[in-house]
Amino acid sequence: MPAEPPSRVATRAGRRSQQVAISIEGLRVVRSGRPVIPGLTARIAAGRVTGLLGPSGCGKTTLMRSIVGVQKIAAGSLTVLGEAAGSPPLRRRVGYVTQSPSVYSDLTVRENLRFFAAVLGADVAAVDDAVHTVDLADFADQRVDKLSGGQRSRVSLAVALLGDPAVLVLDEPTVGLDPVLRRQLWGTFAELAANGKAIVVSSHVMDEASRCDWLLLMRNGEIIADGSPEDLLTSTGAADIESAFLALVESTDAA
């Protein structure tokens, strides 16, 4: 195991301090000549759900792809669990769920999971666990293209859970899900975080902010706020995160 840097980040109320799981220094990403992320520095802690919030097109997906190591980056460094993002030892320890489900639509749920489990070296029990976690046990032998959109995203999420990764990066995992299921999934994320995993969840729906332990608000490829939901409400004096976001946008634009 590589030595973890001793850096720690304070949590809300300062009750616990937590280990840094993801460390981003001066990240710059240029896509088709346009700097999508001009220069971003942030730390993301293990043991909590970090929400990456911002309007669509603000660079959330690009940032997540950089953390997973599938994005070409122009400058800066990205460390995940003490290793360079995307390096071979991380391929087992980082789970990634893209916005559109990346699974085989002509295979059943179980066939998909068995295949990815074989790739990850996970055992058969992991397949059943993942199916239960995303609440698809009744559909395990259905072909993915016969499932609803929400069910398909859950199959994709189940794949990411297979290898019991220490870091989970989820791009808009709750889009198109009904409220009951959404609450259930946020419960799952909280549980995983309580077990020490770093969970990064993106959303463009600000009312999901209250489900997160920590927030990174993004706009035009930059982080405009980094704190707990309570901190953000207190510092802006806003009633909800959406108003807090708008207040922050106005103050940065004025500056």
């Binding site: 599938v70 995307g86 990346s102 085989y104 295979l107």
Partner: protein, 245 residues
Amino acid sequence: MSAVITLAVTRRVLTQLLRDHRTLALMLVVPCVLLTLLWWMFDRNSATFDSLGPPLLAMFPFIVMFLVTSVTTLRERSSGTLERLLSMPMAKLDLVAGYAIAFAAVALAQALLAVGLAVGLLGLEVAGPVEMLAVVAVLDAVLGTTLGLFVSAFAQTEFQAVQFMPAFVIPQILLCGLFVPREAMPDALEALSNLLPLSYAVDAMQRLQQSSDLSSALWGDVAVICCFIAAAVVLGAATLRRRTS
């Protein structure tokens, strides 16, 4: 590389193929139908069927496998599963080899069916051993598969992938020696045909058709085809990128 992962890919691709009944039927039946059509065309002239049959036995499986493979692997790219797999502990060669083995299994069935039909029912007569005819047909189908895998890297859409068929395959058909013997072509074209894999496939078939012994020239052709297969697999793996912009 890991044999477990390679075979997991093979099993998955075969499961997908076996489930797609229409594609599977097309892959197995179309070469047979085309051969039958050819036999019927030369109804009164079985000598022409005997001379055209073996080269076409090399060509039909090659074309069908090229098309199916290039579109299937492109689908893997566009569905996001390729990116997902490459973010997992999977060697690039695992993926390409896994695909190649799965399609080779289908190619085996396809080539055996086509050779069985041509020799058994349509009365194709060749001087060389029939088993060798089958071996070369299977190799040609595998060659089509691996070239399809390789060129799919250069296609962004299924439309483009399908267009690679006239772009990559038809020149090979024109220059392989079926229409004009390769020695009789202008020097530049003969030199070009020496670089194209299908030329060796057709050469091997023509040798089998004309001579009863397994000459060293035939083994040379087979060796060249195998080299093209290996090169296409390695190049196909090299075109995969873990990081994209």
